[in-house]
């Protein structure tokens, strides 16, 4: 008994703003916009480093970070973040996304006792996952306390210069 292989025929790149871009597989060096195909090429050479050739112009490119299927790309000095999904994973996202949507509160606590050096966010500020919220000095080292989810800051419970104990609440975030 040999199972059928679910072949992946296309991929989707979803931007952080929720824009969806579709690419058929195998991936060609072509981008289709408004029904027209344009050639695009990723190149690397000594003079320019990694760059994209698009409409006879070179654009600098940098791959800032990749994590799982999440790609942070610097194209022409502008940062873009995409998750790349297969039809199955996209479907799963839709299923799991249903019944959610209500925001929950993320309480960021001090991981260890120390002194707050700087508070980097204000109330009502939008934060992204991984964004530094406060800088906590402990063991004579400055630690960035990062948000483990994106959302809006509801409350900032500490100020610069303050000493905190382990598990003291630093920031509260309404998770999106």
């Amino acid at each position: 008994m040999k199972p059928d292989k679910p072949t992946i025929k296309k991929l989707f790149a979803i931007s952080t703003e929720g824009r969806k871009f579709q690419f058929p597989l195998p991936l060609k060096n072509v981008i289709r916009v408004n029904g027209r195909d344009y050639n695009v090429e990723l190149r690397e050479d000594e003079k320019y480093g990694i760059h994209v050739l698009w409409k006879n112009r070179r654009y600098p490119v940098e791959i800032v970070r990749t994590k799982q299927n999440r790609y942070e790309i610097l194209f022409n000095d502008i940062g873009h973040t995409f998750t790349v999904e297969t039809p199955i994973s996209l479907q799963r996202k839709k299923i799991l996304g249903k019944g959610k949507g209500k925001s929950t509160t993320l309480v960021v606590k001090a991981p260890m006792p120390g002194r707050i050096i700087d508070v980097l966010v204000r109330e009502h500020a939008e934060v992204i996952k991984g964004e530094a919220l406060v800088i906590l000095e402990a063991m004579k080292m400055q630690n960035e306390i990062q948000s483990i989810a994106g959302g809006t800051v509801i409350r900032v419970d500490v100020r610069a210069g303050q000493n905190v104990m382990k598990d003291d609440i630093l920031v509260e975030i309404a998770v999106k």
């Binding site: 008994m1 040999k2 199972p3 059928d4 292989k5 679910p6 990749t66 799982q68 299927n69 297969t86 199955i88 994973s89 479907q91 799963r92 996202k93 299923i95 799991l96 991981p111 260890m112 006792p113 000095e137 402990a138 063991m139 004579k140 080292m141 400055q142 630690n143 960035e144 382990k166």
Partner: protein
């Protein structure tokens, strides 16, 4: 044979019945939960058309069933077999939640045990995809014994073949120990959970309300318990990552890890490495930035990323060859060693040692985390694990001291005396019994108390301490460091060092096993 004859027809009928068993309804039910079926998972995992299923037509045992009903389905809720991943033989099972909730009965257990034993005989990696309601209540003690056999098999194979568990659904009760005993646990977020006692029992016994996700979801196990090593957002990414992960590992403990020919574009001399460690010893940086410039481009695979992030562990390749990396992470808690980071590091090192993977240690550690919490929870006992794991490892071991290397933490992180083969230091290294502030405060307590301007004197003394004691040159001159190197040439140095050590073989005293502090 006559393909229209009786025998062949009954063969075809069975095939037909098997296909029917996986009706659209069953698939839909599984898909509607955002999950794939056992066969789909297997298909994603193995190279196209290479998977051979065994025991597809077995049916559940009737033994001892006089309570409840058992569905007489082909396969008894588990798919087992072998196939190729990146061209290499791998044995696997995948539990099928669509049949009796993937519950484990005696036949189900026997099927798994069979492929486990085959994997051990062939010296091939073993992967288990878990999606099961647990022991089959109807089958009682037979089912429990089935688990015992599976556990025992895992333990007998441990350290001989890599064993990896993938959790893609529930794993509750005793069943959780199967994954726990394997080398690595992958979990898919939101649709999998593991716990010894579920939310219902917690509610009854402790009167506490908690969801399955909060009690034993992927996130919890990846961050807090450390049970899950790698977690991913969906099943496809889990499997894609698993395949990638497998490419770092040898098939068994006698082989070396596979070699992956690499695009030869990672510079052996990279001045960028000089910029990462800040001059200010109190400033943090991300040690992964260093790792990524040392290993072949894009080859670093971080393991247990979310658990004890103050130590980084993971695999990378250097000129195509797998290297296990252990690095203090100054970005988190200053890279301090605590209970969790010690056990995380120790387990990683032992895996590398078992499977002939050389270990690279990047050191920037201020010490052990002080405090009642740590001391009372046994940092002495747990810290000792890291020491034990390092000293016990016979694979090539290299350390690069990036910055701080103080006190006990210096000793632990694969120091020369612990058997480090090559110990390098960057010029920014500070090696001493303790940090400058502490040392000055102890040695010059009286002078500081009597000084007119204690702050100025302290500054002076700290400067002197750095000059006279806390620097890599003293250690170099005394032979505790093999060489102080320019950060830019780290990769080049390591390549030639690992190459020189590739034939390392150590005579280990014969014994049953050491007594590691557990």
């Amino acid at each position: 044979m006559d393909i229209n004859g009786k025998y062949f027809r009954s063969f075809l009928e069975r095939e037909e019945a098997f296909k029917k068993q996986y009706s659209a309804d069953r698939l839909k039910k599984q898909h509607s939960k955002g999950k794939l079926t056992a066969h789909e998972r297997i298909a994603l995992l193995f190279d196209d058309g290479t998977f051979e299923e065994i025991d597809a037509f077995v049916t559940p045992s009737d033994q001892g069933v006089d309570f409840g009903k058992v569905e007489h389905a082909y396969g008894d809720g588990v798919v087992t077999g072998h196939g190729k991943i990146d061209g290499r033989l791998v044995f696997a099972f995948a539990q099928d939640f669509t049949i009796m909730g993937g519950s484990l009965g005696i036949v189900h257990a026997r099927k798994i045990a069979k492929v486990q034993e085959m994997a051990l005989k062939m010296g091939a990696p073993f992967i288990g995809i878990n999606d099961s309601g647990g022991a089959r209540i109807q089958e009682g003690i037979a089912s429990l014994n089935g688990y015992a056999v599976i556990f025992n098999n895992i333990i007998q194979s441990s350290g001989i073949i890599p064993q990896i568990s993938v959790i893609m659904g529930p794993a509750a009760g005793g069943a959780v120990y199967a994954p726990a005993l394997t080398d690595w646990v992958f979990m898919t977020s939101h649709t999998s959970y593991m716990f010894v006692t579920g939310p219902n029992v917690v509610r009854e016994v402790l009167n506490e309300e908690i969801s399955s996700e909060d009690l034993g979801g992927a996130e919890v196990h990846a961050r807090k318990s450390g049970v899950a090593n790698m977690i991913y957002d969906d099943e496809e990414n889990t499997i894609i990552a698993l395949k990638k992960f497998l490419s770092y590992l040898p098939s068994n403990n006698l082989e070396n890890p596979p070699v992956v020919s690499f695009p030869n574009d990672t510079p052996d001399f990279n001045p960028k490495l000089r910029d990462i460690v800040p001059d200010d010893p109190n400033k943090a940086y991300d040690v992964r930035d260093i790792i990524n410039l040392i290993v072949d481009r894009n080859s670093f695979f971080e393991t247990s990323e979310l658990f004890a992030p103050n130590i980084i562990t993971g695999f990378g390749r250097m000129e195509g060859r797998t290297v296990g990396i252990v690095a203090n992470q100054p970005k988190v808690l200053a890279g301090v060693l605590d209970i969790d980071s010690s056990t995380k590091g120790a387990r990683f090192i032992r895996f590398c040692d078992a499977f002939n993977i050389p270990i690279l240690t990047l050191e920037d550690v201020p010490g052990f985390l002080p405090g009642k919490d740590q001391e009372h929870s046994g940092i002495i006992r747990h810290g000792a694990k890291l020491l034990f794991a390092y000293a016990e490892a016979t694979v090539p071991r290299i350390t690069v001291i990036l910055r701080k290397a103080y006190g006990g933490a210096y000793i632990v992180m694969n120091s020369k005396g612990m058997g480090g083969d090559f110990n390098y230091a960057w010029p920014s290294a500070e090696i001493a019994v303790m940090g400058p502030d502490g040392a000055v405060a102890i040695l010059y307590r009286r002078e500081l108390a009597e000084a007119k301007d204690p702050a100025a004197l302290k500054k002076e003394l700290v400067k002197k301490y750095r000059e006279k004691v806390a620097n890599p040159f003293i250690a170099d001159e005394k032979g505790y460091i093999d060489e102080v190197i320019d950060p830019a040439m780290t990769r080049g140095k390591l390549l030639s060092a690992f190459s020189a050590l590739s034939n390392k073989s150590v005579k280990v005293p014969s014994r049953k096993h050491g007594n590691m502090p557990l």
